[in-house]
């Protein structure tokens, strides 16, 4: 039983960390730009595909793919923010959602046009491909790596936002765009930067997911974006702390749900989302 519980927990945490990598960018972008980006899942997909493309072109070096793929995606993010999203900031919420939704359709088909429609299998990461025995059962080294990466990203984000000059400007602009402008912050540029960074985070998530999921599919973005939405909502829109905790909760909930209440899995997650929205619409860490 203990063995089971330990592994259910580990599975939940690693699942949560995958969601976190996507949710962190989503919530960061929402916190600053106030745009809920459906296409964030597409960055996840693009990250995976581009990492894979680099990996293939560069003779199978995953780390190079992880480095370059997401960089390209952040450039895509820049183009999207600069030439499309910027046109709808002042419009109502449905228009913003619609625009990002249209981008999802476009990205999905683009990927299909470039890489073909089938699922593409991908090789494991050298050095991280084995398993270690934990409580008497094998657990993939790669998942341990992910369990480590998640909090590192969280720490990095915390440091970036709280301790750096850039982070201060981001926080200032998030709370008061106009005043930030008035003290000389180039807010449009900052928005582009934050959007690119968010896209990069999501793309890194996608690239990291590839060795674990083991394949690339055109629909992979949609599946993760819904989980990320749930996480971002229950954590409180725009709250990174909340999103991190939310990711853990959703990951663990689905892991425990699958193990102990298999018929309720999806119902549970959305039930949690509804309950949190009713009980604390601002999320866990809202003040007052």
């Amino acid at each position: 039983m203990l063995q089971s519980l330990v592994h259910v927990c580990l599975a939940g945490i690693s699942a949560g960390m995958f969601i976190w990598l996507v949710a962190s960018g989503l919530t960061l972008v929402f916190g600053v730009l106030r745009v809920l980006n459906f296409a964030h899942g597409s960055f996840y997909m693009l990250g995976a595909y581009l990492c894979f493309a680099v990996l293939k072109a560069m003779g199978g070096n995953f780390w190079l793919g992880l480095l370059l793929g997401p960089l390209v995606v952040s450039m895509v993010g820049y183009v999207m923010e600069r030439y499309l999203l910027r046109l709808v900031y002042h419009l109502e919420l449905p228009y913003q959602l619609l625009l990002t939704f249209a981008m999802v359709l476009i990205f999905d088909d683009l990927v299909k046009m470039i890489w073909g429609a089938g699922s593409i299998g991908s090789p494991a990461v050298p050095g991280l491909s084995g398993s270690v025995s934990i409580a008497g059962r094998e657990f993939p080294v790669y998942n341990l790596f992910i369990i480590a990466v998640g909090p590192l990203v969280a720490l990095g984000l915390y440091g970036l936002l709280e301790k750096t000059w850039w982070g201060r400007i981001v926080r200032a602009s998030a709370s008061d765009r106009e005043m930030a402008l008035s003290i000389g912050v180039n807010v449009p540029l900052l928005y582009s930067g934050v959007f690119m960074f968010g896209a990069w985070l999501s793309a890194v998530g996608g690239a990291l997911a590839v060795p674990y999921v083991g394949l690339l599919t055109t629909g992979m973005g949609e599946a993760i974006i819904i989980s990320a939405f749930i996480v971002v909502v229950i954590g409180g829109l725009g709250s990174l702390k909340g999103a991190f905790l939310g990711s853990l909760i959703v990951g663990l909930l689905s892991s425990f749900g699958t193990r102990f209440m298999p018929m309720l899995d999806m119902f549970l997650t959305f039930g949690l989302m509804a309950a949190v929205l009713l009980w604390r619409p601002q999320g866990f860490f809202a003040e007052g």
Binding site: W165, R168, I169, R171, A172, A174, S175, D176, E178, M179, A180, L181, S182, I183, G184, V185, N186, V187, P188
Partner: protein, 233 residues
């Protein structure tokens, strides 16, 4: 000439909020925009800052046309705006609020953090506290400090006397005078004629989006007719 506003028109949607407004501010002057609530004082300041750009007319700052520039560019040129609701960054500490202004505007000069903390000891005491914990009067001080950190040539000051206890107004007056003493040009918008009279050299009176009168503060103060028509309620 630090600022020359020339025949600007500003619209909010269809509403013609500012109509053909012209005035000017000279180096080192403190100029008041007077007028009752809703007469366009705030909008004037905002359009100079680039937050509500005029549809036509021209705004020249130190001889350069800034009408079509973005607010952040205008800020870098040395214009600083203090809105009436102060808008301290709530998530940032007092210290960060000050530093961010200096670094974002990329301007340096006489005003350093040390000098500002000397001028307002309160800011030194509360250095590490978040902006959201400041009270109304404290925010006013902080917003002044933040503005000075930009070492601006021109400060646009909206409703400085509003909502303050008399004692604090007194302090504020002294502070503005001190700042003025360092050669900073100030354009302030206020309803309070007495307050303006204390610190300002000249004044313009706005009425329903147009400048209806302009002159030295003493002239306005003595002009009973003007005061009665446009200012006193």
């Amino acid at each position: 000439m630090v600022l020359r506003v020339d025949q600007i028109d500003v619209y909010y949607g269809t509403a013609h909020v500012l109509q053909n407004i012209s005035f000017e501010v000279k180096q080192g002057e403190t100029v008041a925009l007077l007028g009752r609530n809703g007469m366009g004082k705030t909008t004037t300041l905002r359009s100079i800052m680039g937050l509500n750009p005029p549809t036509n007319g021209s705004i020249r700052f130190e001889g350069v046309e800034i009408c079509k520039l973005a607010p952040n560019v205008i800020a870098k040129r040395g214009v600083s705006y203090i809105p009436d609701d102060l808008r301290i960054f709530p998530d940032l500490t007092c210290e960060e609020n000050l530093e961010i202004a200096a670094r974002a505007s990329g301007r340096s000069g006489y005003w350093t953090k040390e000098r500002i903390e000397n001028l307002f000891p309160l800011l030194a005491d509360r250095r590490k506290q978040k902006g959201s914990s400041f009270s109304g009067g404290e925010k006013k001080i902080l917003s002044l400090g933040r503005s000075l950190m930009m070492n601006p040539t021109l400060i646009l000051l909206d409703e400085p006397s509003e909502g303050l206890a008399p004692l604090i107004v007194r302090t504020l007056l002294e502070t503005i005078k001190k700042i003025k003493g360092h050669g900073v040009t100030i354009l302030l918008a206020d309803q309070n004629l007495r307050f303006c009279n204390e610190v300002c050299d000249r004044g313009y009176i706005l009425e329903k989006g147009t400048v209806v009168h302009g002159g030295s503060m003493t002239e306005i103060w003595d002009n009973d007719d003007v005061v009665r028509r446009y200012l006193v309620v």
